[in-house]
């Protein structure tokens, strides 16, 4: 994939893998399109079938006129043929067994050899592949040679036995300049590094684990004092997610920028503490890299099914600020924004990524950083400010925005207060007085309204004349945009609104009001985003039509388009 990217051609790759370390099949799907589309399409043009067990399934995915490449070392049942698919056999195992020693090398090189064959068939640039191998194995030159040998083997076989290149081929272009290929977890980790986070606490869970791994790796390069070897960060592998969020809240309370990364099951465990953070008004940053399921579900597949559980996590009246990145670029930006928002609003902020964004490599414009960017630490009083204040109350709304002023431990006895999850008054004193409680909850609601004005607004694209809107969120974006193009070609123009945060802003309300009907595209069974919209705006549910994709695979443009078409076909004439 990277060679295609280096040839200047827009490309995206999706890894489909099971929750297993070895021994179950995995797939890797690559989309290349001259129109620069970055979502999955539907259907496969060129299939490389490397697993005998899934051969039939793989063949079925190929579109008419497509190509299937298989390892012809072993005979293949004739029933598994299709007239409309060109089947190309390459004796990969036989070739590799002859050319390489050792079981491991033979298996690995088989996978490299087919890349060589693909290079011939798709007209990939061998010089680019060589360059990439040299970079990857910079410290192990012997491996470069072995890999190149396998590449050439595959390339030569394909060139002599088949008509190369195929009609579907890759043509070098200039469309990837200024772009990188990066996954969302790495991007989010980089955001945490740039945001000045110092404390990370987590409990490993797919698909979030690589986020903290990446943070540690960035820190080892950018946060260690060269002279002393001392670290200006502390990453704690917690005993579970309850502990991880407790650590984040404790560190934030003490004034550090702290975060955790988890997935749905972790969020469930963190619920009690999330309510505590909301009610005691402590900052916290969480990354929820969503996966499929109630329960363990399909841990290695993607979904957006934690929208409601995160929005309203915990018992009692609670609401949490959510950010919805749509790609790694936004993971980077939202990570930085999350720390500012959490400290400004003194509340937990959850960045709602997913497995597709978090673990797949996406092509995105190079990230930018403005050195004049202001780090918003929110309302914190130090000794100097306390000198000027006659009477300070930790939970007093002196500015009318619902956000009180806080102090940090370790600084000044005048700033001391007792943080408690039980009822408290403006001075943080214990109380069970009903009026005081109601006022506190109303102030928290006022703070929520302030939050709506601070979170990132929606991405909205409207053209005169479209009666319908397409509302979506997160990793649905690319497929939604491509489907919108497809449908525009079928005289179904639609306006577009991608929600980027909760609380929802007035921009979203306006969009919904301006459209008779909105299709709400999301990746879960129950239409969680739709429910949240209905609940927050009190909008007539009949005006919202759910398009729900929840097979655990990244959304494809084709499935979105057919989901919308299905609604219009079923439309009952008045």
């Amino acid at each position: 994939m990277k060679s295609i990217f280096r040839m200047g051609v827009p490309v995206v790759g999706k890894n489909f893998f099971p929750s297993n370390i070895q021994g179950l099949p995995t797939w890797y799907e690559i989309r290349v399109s001259g129109e620069k589309h970055l979502a999955r399409r539907d259907g496969v043009d060129v299939m490389v079938a490397m697993n005998a067990q899934t051969y039939a399934e793989d063949l079925a995915c190929v579109v008419p006129g497509g190509v299937l490449i298989y390892d012809s070392t072993w005979p293949r049942s004739g029933e598994l043929d299709r007239d409309d698919v060109q089947v190309l056999g390459i004796p990969l195992s036989a070739m590799c067994n002859e050319a390489f020693d050792g079981v491991r090398a033979r298996i690995l090189m088989k996978n490299v050899a087919y890349v060589g064959a693909l290079a011939a068939l798709l007209d990939l640039d061998l010089a680019v592949i060589r360059q990439l191998l040299e970079e990857t194995f910079a410290s192990k030159p012997a491996l470069v040679e072995a890999n190149l040998k396998a590449i050439h083997m595959g390339h030569d076989y394909a060139s002599t036995h088949f008509a190369c290149p195929l009609t579907a081929r890759v043509e070098a272009a200039e469309d990837t300049a200024g772009h990188i290929m990066i996954d969302g977890n790495t991007a989010a980790a980089l955001g945490c590094l740039y945001a000045g986070a110092t404390v990370g606490a987590w409990y490993p869970i797919t698909p979030s684990t690589s986020l903290m791994d990446a943070f540690r790796s960035f820190c080892s390069r950018h946060r260690v004092d060269e002279a002393s070897g001392q670290r200006n960060y502390c990453v704690v592998q917690a005993e579970d997610e309850l502990a991880a969020i407790g650590m984040v809240l404790g560190a934030s309370w003490a004034g550090a920028r702290a975060f955790t990364a988890t997935s749905g099951p972790g969020i469930s465990l963190m619920s009690e503490f999330l309510g505590f953070g909301y009610f005691t008004e402590l900052p916290a940053v969480l990354f929820n890299v969503q996966r499929v399921g109630p329960s363990t579900g399909l841990p290695t597949r993607t979904q957006q099914a934690d929208i409601l559980s995160c929005a309203y996590a915990s018992h009692g009246d609670t609401r949490h600020v959510l950010l919805f990145p749509a790609n790694p670029g936004e993971c980077f930006e939202h990570a930085v924004a999350a720390f500012d928002l959490a400290e400004r609003l003194q509340t937990p902020v959850i960045v709602m990524s997913d497995l597709d964004i978090g673990m797949n490599d996406w092509m995105c414009p190079e990230f930018e950083w403005d050195d004049d960017r202001h780090f918003d630490r929110g309302k914190v009083l130090g000794p100097a400010e306390l000198d000027r204040i006659e009477e300070w109350g930790r939970y007093r709304d002196v500015d009318g925005d619902g956000i009180p002023w806080r102090t940090l431990p370790g600084q000044d006895v005048r700033g001391a207060y007792f943080t408690r999850g039980s009822g408290h008054d403006e001075f943080a004193r214990y109380t069970e007085n009903g009026d005081v409680y109601r006022e506190l909850m109303q102030r928290l609601d006022a703070k929520w309204k302030t939050a709506a004005g601070l979170v990132p607004g929606a991405e909205i694209d409207e053209h005169a004349g479209a009666a319908a809107g397409l509302v979506t969120v997160g990793s649905c974006a690319d497929a939604a945009l491509e489907a919108r193009e497809l449908l525009a070609g079928e005289s179904m123009p639609m306006d577009y609104c991608r929600i980027r945060a909760f609380p929802f802003g007035e921009d979203i309300r306006g969009f919904l009001e301006r459209h008779e009907v909105c299709y709400v595209l999301e990746q879960n069974r129950d239409g969680q985003l739709k429910s949240l919209i209905v609940n927050e705006f009190g909008i007539d549910p009949a005006r919202l039509r759910s398009v729900l994709i929840y097979d655990g695979l990244p959304v494809s443009a084709g499935s979105v388009a057919s989901g919308i078409r299905a609604w219009t076909k079923n439309e009952v004439p008045a």
Binding site: I182, T186, M247, G250, W253, F367, D412
Partner: protein, 351 residues
């Protein structure tokens, strides 16, 4: 100040510590616990210990879970920030606070329910992490706040107020701590301030996790006859195995000890602990020996008290992490940001 401050009356007669503060400066709000509750005595001992050590009040961080015991951080050192977290999860919050600011003196207050049932996992893992924390379990054998159910520290055969007899074996926090790797382990009794205060001082000065399991009777639900956590029972079966003197860094050891009787332990800050064992065979520097000795006495129905195990050389969480000396919370985010100049190099790997 977040509390309506009490009018401050200075009694010229009150003794001052090295910071010029009196014991009153280490007190907190009025206790709302039952009169006679053991927990209030633990609070009083803590006030005394912090005052004697002359810890700046603002440098203390008070953390707790949920329970009558966990309410007590409101009753000492009102000049310190406190955090009453959720049930059984104080160790994680303390870990975060200590991670963010290593200059804080973290004091965690918990109960036997809070630590040995719902919070057993966090309790063990904080010890394993060797967090720099003074951890007090105010142990009364029951859940006081939820009205007297047996806790996991209830002894076999002990009788509840309503007559029910506990059949399950207790989880002993001291044995648990020995197994989980705590580096300072003590047991004491809320009614023995003379023993408790020096232990608290030593625990505060110990660099690493310091556990004190304080038998602290619940007068309302577990102080009757046939209870093994009553004042009367505790007084009868409580047996100091080690007597300890705490000698601050600048002071000389003045008491004369008999040859072979005293064992000196030097802490990181230069304080000296002088341990006097009541039994020759006992070695508070040896984990396995301590475990066996304590276990044997427990089987005979005797609670050994005092500093039961100590490893003054242990490396605490920040030592292991090699964290910078300055508190992480004091490093401004913009000073930690690699900035635009570093970005092209970082992104080059993704091209």
């Amino acid at each position: 100040m977040s509390y309506i401050s009490k009018p401050r009356i200075d009694h010229p007669g009150l003794k001052q510590n090295a910071l010029g503060l009196t014991r009153r400066d280490y007190e907190g709000g009025m206790s709302t616990l039952c009169a006679g509750c053991g927990h209030d005595s633990v609070t009083a001992a803590l006030v005394q210990a912090c005052w004697e050590l002359a810890i700046p009040p603002e440098r203390v961080a008070k953390l707790s879970g949920i329970g009558c015991s966990s309410k007590t951080p409101a009753y000492f050192v009102s000049g310190a920030h406190g955090l009453n977290s959720v049930h059984g999860r104080m160790p994680s919050v303390a870990t975060g606070a200590a991670a963010a600011n290593r200059d804080l003196h973290c004091i965690g207050i918990s109960g036997d329910g809070d630590s040995l049932s719902i919070g057993m996992g966090q309790f063990c893992h904080a010890m394993r992490r060797n967090l720099d924390l003074l951890y007090l379990i105010e142990n009364n054998g029951v859940y006081g706040l939820t009205k007297g159910q047996f806790s996991a520290s209830a002894d076999r055969g002990t009788k509840a107020k309503k007559g029910e007899v506990n059949q399950q074996p207790p989880i002993d926090p001291v044995l648990t701590a020995l197994a989980a790797g705590a580096t300072f382990i003590a047991r004491s009794f809320s009614g023995d301030k003379a023993q408790l205060v020096p232990l608290m001082k030593a625990g505060l000065r110990h660099r690493g996790f310091a556990l004190i399991d304080v038998l602290s009777p619940c007068v309302t639900f577990n102080d009757h006859e046939d209870s093994t956590k009553s004042y009367a029972f505790t007084r009868q079966y409580y047996h100091p195995a080690v007597n300890m003197d705490f000698v601050p860094p600048a002071e000389e050891i003045r008491t004369a000890y008999d040859e072979g009787e005293a064992m000196e332990v030097r802490l990181h800050d230069g304080s000296e602990l002088v341990l006097r064992k009541t039994d020759e065979a006992y070695d508070p520097g040896n984990r396995a020996n301590a475990f066996q000795y304590i276990r044997q006495h427990l089987d005979q129905g005797e609670f050994l008290t005092g500093l039961l195990y100590v490893d003054p050389e242990s490396r605490e969480m920040h030592d292991l992490n090699q964290t910078v000396e300055r508190p992480l919370a004091s490093l401004a985010p913009d000073s930690l940001c690699p900035g635009s100049s570093a970005l092209p190099d970082i992104l080059a790997r993704y091209r």
